[in-house]
């Protein structure tokens, strides 16, 4: 590092227009040419806001209060609108999160890529533009055939769309590129290809990149430096190997401990509580109310940034013990696993209208165990779950609960069956009636099935609320006063209150941050053990399977690819599809594993306390 860094951000502060309350406070970092910096944090930490500030852009309602963003020594904050506009797309490029909505649906993709070049390379003629366009498409591993150039975004796959986004970003050979979660929503295989493209292009052309993401595994794999953000501030910043290898801030450590991993069945420990809303940072250390190490000082005074062990840190009581250690779950098989299956699916064929989506699917779950249904989007795993609970009616085949065949639709099932199989929806933001209090929501199934007095009902509701670790004061709250994780707990409580035997969970953590996901998954595992629940856990996250399930069914294109015990399938996959899938999952490196100590029944104890 002899020359000046390409990007120097110093004391960047962004505030709300109306109140002047800052949502991003004194953010500083540097990125060299060819280097990738990761900005990570939970939702609402301000990472996207910082990312957009690199383009001299503040979202509506926000404005730059102080600080500078210097690209090759030129402060973008000082430029006028017109000058910044000239930089965007040319020297600073942006790859948005969702390519489906970022590309113009009514324009050929070739034209969209050419448009960037046309705008920024004033006098270049058509053949030059065409040449450069084909070149950049090849760089992002797309074949610039006439067919591709003349297709509309909706005709391309998600991965191809994101490559078009990357091509547009790299078209003018920018000095700086901001990537805002560009691989979210892509399958792991596609994600790996896109990430490799990003890495090689940045290295090859000396582009400085800022990679905004909530996915620590992806970031750990890709970036050179990482800045961990919490409540609008960077709390830990340094080289990835150092920050992720020996996390010093309790928050970084918490985030890492919440990431499920493919290699071992880790005890996931989430971070309890929720981050402050943007602009509502409490006094003192913003993390103090969720931190196990916090003391008087943390609550009253603000930690400043200091250099600790080759990283910048904003914490009074950093952890000095080195590598993050995690407890391992012993592969846990419950006693009465043998014998007749509790839930069995045979020869299941299902369709949406004329389109078949499931082909001869079969699996079985023993009583009290957890089966994970894994697959990429479009594999039919959600449809399968919906068939089991009766939400999807158009299927043929056999679904048996305790040897008793289940009718296809929920309407033709008896109350007993409806009660025995409960379903938890994917999206906690739509799963609860916004006009009903939490108490009424949980009590509703009890009223529906009857047989309990009012007093018994409320007793049941309160006890199940305790089971999902929510205070009884929540009974009178409405869903919009709760965070996503809390809403999902309420949804789980609503399912558990009727004491079902089978719980079907459809991607219940995919809308949540990893730190919240960990809390939910641990809670679910505890409840499963306590109540002897049979669990069907649908997920696209292979790493999560280890931490919750005993058996796994891998699905692709509506068929079962491979199934069996988790440790067998994940450690020794037989099918090429499964092998590829496992190879493509990004992994966190540099973690130490404690001896096989914890088991299912004591997992709620803090797993990572040194």
């Amino acid at each position: 590092m002899t020359s000046m860094p390409r990007l120097v951000v110093s004391d960047l502060t962004i505030a709300m227009d109306r109140s002047n309350v800052d949502v991003v406070d004194q953010v500083s970092f540097t990125v060299d040419a060819g280097e990738v910096l990761g900005l990570v944090g939970e939702s609402g930490s301000g990472k996207t806001t910082v990312g957009l500030a690199m383009l001299g852009y503040a979202r509506r309602g926000l404005r730059f209060l102080a600080g500078s963003v210097a690209l090759d020594g030129q402060d973008i904050m000082q430029l006028r609108q017109g000058e910044v506009r000239k930089l965007r797309g040319a020297r600073i490029a942006y790859v948005p999160q969702d390519p489906t909505s970022a590309l113009d649906p009514s324009m050929h993709v070739g034209k969209q890529v050419a448009e960037v070049l046309k705008i920024h390379s004033g006098r270049a003629d058509r053949t030059q533009i065409r040449q450069r366009m084909e070149e950049v498409l090849r760089e992002v591993a797309l074949d610039p055939t006439q067919e591709l150039l003349r297709s509309y975004p909706h005709q391309l796959s998600g991965g191809q769309q994101q490559r078009i986004g990357l091509a547009m970003a790299f078209a003018c050979r920018p000095s700086l590129i901001v990537l805002d979660e560009p691989t979210t929503g892509l399958d792991v295989t596609t994600q790996r290809h896109v990430l490799e493209t990003v890495r090689s292009l940045c290295g090859q052309y000396g582009v400085a990149a800022v990679y905004v993401s909530h996915d620590l595994a992806v970031v750990g794999d890709l970036v050179d430096k990482v800045a961990v953000m919490y409540a609008g501030r960077i709390v830990e910043y340094g080289r990835t190997s150092i920050v992720f290898g020996q996390p010093a801030h309790p928050y970084t450590r918490g985030l890492l401990a919440a990431v499920p991993t493919l290699d071992r069945a880790a005890v996931l420990s989430g971070i309890e509580g929720q981050p402050p809303r943007p602009g509502n940072r409490p006094n003192g250390c913003a993390f103090s109310n969720r931190c196990s190490r916090a003391d008087e000082e943390c609550v009253t005074s603000d930690p400043t940034v200091r250099e600790v062990n080759q990283r910048q840190l904003r914490c009074f009581h950093p952890i000095e013990s080195g590598t993050l250690s995690r407890s391992v779950l012993t592969p846990n098989r419950l006693d009465d696993m043998s014998g007749t299956p509790h839930l069995e699916v045979r020869d299941l064929n299902a369709s949406y209208g004329p389109k078949p989506v499931l082909h001869e699917v079969a699996f079985s779950v023993s009583r009290g165990s957890c089966l994970a249904l894994v697959g990429e989007s479009g594999s039919g795993k959600t449809t399968l779950a919906r068939c089991v609970v009766g939400l999807h009616r158009r299927w043929e085949g056999d679904i048996q609960l305790d040897g008793q065949a289940l009718p296809a639709g929920y309407r033709s099932r008896s109350d007993v069956l409806r009660r025995q199989v409960q379903f938890i929806f994917q999206n906690p933001y739509t799963a609860l009636n916004p006009r009903r209090t939490i108490g009424a929501t949980i009590a509703y199934p009890l009223q529906r099935f009857g047989g309990l007095t009012r007093a018994e009902q409320s007793e049941r509701v309160e006890s199940v609320l305790r089971d999902v670790a929510l205070p009884t004061s929540y009974l009178s709250k409405y869903p919009d006063q709760l965070s996503g994780g809390e809403r999902q707990r309420v949804a789980i409580a609503r399912g558990l209150v009727v004491e079902p035997e089978v719980l079907v969970c459809d991607e219940i953590t995919s809308a949540l941050d990893a730190s919240v996901q960990a809390v939910i998954v641990e809670m679910l595992r505890r409840l499963q053990a306590d109540r002897g629940l049979t669990l069907v856990f649908v997920t696209h996250n292979l790493a999560l399977v280890r931490s919750i399930a005993q058996d796994v069914v891998v699905m692709a294109h509506g068929r079962v690819v491979e199934s069996g015990a988790v440790y067998k399938v994940l450690d020794d996959p037989q099918m090429p599809y499964t092998k590829q899938l496992l190879a493509d999952v990004p992994r966190l490196k540099g973690q130490r594993w404690d001896a096989d100590s914890a088991d299912v029944h004591q997992t709620t104890a803090g797993a990572e306390r040194p």
């Binding site: 109306r18 109140s19 939702s43 609402g44 996207t48 999160q97 969702d98 489906t100 979660e181 979210t184 929503g185 993401s213 909530h214 996915d215 809303r277 509502n280 949406y352 697959g375 989007s377 479009g378 594999s379 039919g380 795993k381 959600t382 449809t383 919906r386 009766g390 939400l391 929920y410 309407r411 099932r413 109350d415 409806r418 409960q422 379903f423 929806f425 994917q426 999206n427 933001y429 739509t430 799963a431 609860l432 009636n433 916004p434 006009r435 509703y444 199934p445 529906r448 099935f449 409405y478 919009d480 006063q481 996503g484 949804a491 609503r494 991607e507 995919s510 809308a511 941050d513 696209h540």
Partner: protein, 318 residues
């Protein structure tokens, strides 16, 4: 949205909880636009309600010459038969207002029942209801009402029913569209999975979420009701002479429009003014309610937009 200041999250949550009709109106009344609408409506309401008690003359008494000019006896002059315009205006509003309200309530109730049934049943029932709605929609509201009244006779209750019937198909369309959206939400599925009866799913899960479209629709329909009923009265349907009525007054007195002796513009202008104020007021208030509820929806879209996984979530069934 200039109402929320530093009180921020807490106040917002409280307001959102009061998503029900009354809360919406209260929020609407906090805006200047809403207050203007409310004041206009209130003015006309006061005229209608206390008018009959403060009218200086009987509305059917002959107190001055036909189209007599304003004088101390008749402040707004005389109408085509020499009755007091002021007294007739003061007494001629409440029935119009009442019948408009009744027609609106009836129309919105019938329309939303049809719309909800269509949306939730789907399939053939949906097709049948909506085709009937389409047929009714093919007639302009006024023509439909005219048709009914001319066939069945100019009874006031018939006018009300006719106007209600003219509204129902439009309400049905709007409510069906909103209900279709709500019916696909997971919380509705959750209740269905409990084996709840369809009628209760509709009334307990879907209907409460339709408060704001229902209110906006009711306000809009009220405006139309006033205009249609006044229009029908103008055409001679509805309330029969000699009882006073704003719509009929316009018709009776239109020969008196003009300048010079033998004319009295108040006979037309006073009812026109009141109808206009009422319509504008109701419309402004409705519009504010619509804006407010949209604002609440936006701010209560508490789904964190920056949350990456939502791309997956909103991507539809996997």
């Amino acid at each position: 949205m200039r109402t929320s200041k530093t009180g921020g999250a807490n106040e917002g949550a409280k307001l959102r909880r009061k998503f029900e009709a009354w809360g919406l109106i209260r929020r609407a009344l906090r805006t200047t636009r809403g207050r203007v609408g409310a004041v206009l409506v209130a003015l006309v309401l006061i005229v209608c309600i206390i008018g009959p008690f403060i009218a200086p003359h009987s509305p059917t008494a002959f107190v001055t010459t036909p189209y007599g000019p304003p004088s101390s006896v008749a402040l707004l002059g005389g109408d085509n038969l020499g009755r007091d315009v002021l007294s007739r205006v003061l007494c001629g509003g409440w029935l119009l207002l009442l019948s408009a309200l009744a027609a609106t309530l009836l129309g919105v109730a019938a329309g939303s029942a049809a719309g909800l049934t269509a949306a939730y049943s789907g399939g053939r029932v949906d097709g049948l209801i909506m085709r009937c709605v389409d047929v009714l929609l093919a007639f302009p509201a006024l023509v439909l009402a005219l048709l009914l009244v001319s066939v069945a006779g100019p009874e006031l209750w018939l006018v009300v029913v006719a106007v209600a019937l003219a509204h129902a198909p439009q309400v049905a369309r709007v409510i069906r569209a909103s209900a279709l959206d709500i019916a696909e939400r997971d919380f509705v599925h959750a209740t269905e999975l409990l084996g709840e009866r369809p009628r209760r799913v509709v009334s307990r899960e879907i209907l409460p979420s339709l408060t704001s479209p229902l209110m906006v629709e009711a306000g809009l329909r009220l405006t139309y009701s006033i205009m249609i009923i006044a229009g029908l009265s103008f055409l001679g349907f509805g309330l029969q002479p000699p009882s006073p009525n704003w719509g009929a007054m316009i018709n009776e007195n239109r020969n008196g429009l003009g300048v010079g002796p033998g004319t009295n513009n108040w006979g037309v202008m006073a009812p026109v003014f009141l109808i206009a104020v009422l319509t504008v007021g109701v419309n402004t208030l409705t519009d504010t309610v619509a804006r407010v509820s949209l604002g609440i929806q936006r701010s209560s879209d508490s789904q964190p937009v920056a949350d990456p996984d939502l791309v997956l979530v909103t991507g539809g069934p996997a």
